[in-house]
Symmetry: C2
Subunit: 169 residues, 2 copies
């Protein structure tokens, strides 16, 4: 899919993990909680029902112990281990959210993740994040999208890379 530069943010990185390892990181709550949020913030709750229309919910906590309000989003496409699409614009069972102001980031987005195997066993990791309008894209960029996704992904690589081989999946 081609990103639209007016509305979309794109994050791309080649990583040393396999698509299966990346998929595990995104789809198992106990794994996701360990890397999804740049430290010293952390994920203190995570709920995943891995099917289109199933819930995807995380609660992040600041270093001061303040929880971000939890917005239950949903999955739109679940194609293990190569593609995962989710959104905060619809909740479980595809129920539309009332207003972008009501979700904690203040805007709606759809994330289209692609995990493509590389000849060296690694993964070409691409996220295209689509927003409703330019304001949404700009707000997300200004929050430190590129840096935040990079730090989080480094945490996933560190987590999986440090796991013993028989603990990897």
């Amino acid at each position: 899919m081609m990103p639209d530069p007016r509305f979309d943010l794109k994050f791309h990185r080649d990583v040393s993990l396999s698509p299966d390892q990346v998929w595990d990181g995104w789809t198992h709550p106990e794994t996701l909680m360990k890397w999804f949020c740049p430290r010293p913030w952390k994920v203190v709750e995570c709920e995943i029902d891995l099917r289109p229309g199933g819930i995807f919910r995380t609660v992040m906590q600041s270093p001061e112990g303040m929880n971000m309000p939890d917005d239950a989003g949903t999955f739109l496409a679940v194609e293990a281990p190569h593609r995962l699409v989710w959104t905060n614009a619809l909740g479980p069972d595809f129920r539309p959210k009332p207003k972008p102001e009501d979700v904690h980031l203040g805007f709606f987005f759809v994330v289209d993740l692609r995990f493509t195997p590389l000849p060296n066993g690694g993964t070409s990791y691409t996220a295209i994040v689509m927003h409703q309008d330019e304001q949404g894209r700009q707000a997300h960029a200004a929050m430190g999208f590129e840096q935040g996704w990079g730090i989080a992904l480094d945490q996933l690589v560190e987590l999986k890379g440090s796991a013993k081989p028989n603990e990897r999946r």
Copy 2:
């Protein structure tokens, strides 16, 4: 799925068509154009790419020949022949629409259709239409949702019921 009376409209009817006949009516453009819109309005264009993230687009024309602006929506769930979910809030490839004011009805919705076989060979036909807020539900109801869906479904039953058996699918 249970409808939420604040935000949802529900349409239910038992019809004499099989789930396969109803599914055909909803998923083949040449069939859909013959029943989808209460006469004397008509559907003059229809585009269907029957997969989650695929386009669902219709153009309706008034008796005076005026075309409604076309909004490309998308499918969210495609489970032949029993369940079809689509929305006007996202376009093809799940791209979010900018604003509800920009779609021709003026509000976003998600339609969850269920076609359940009845012992007599017919179908329990249920649509739950979810809106972002009460205003969306009220606006949709005031446009004649219940009557419009009923007339259109009558047109589908008439169309399929009058087809020769070997033309049915």
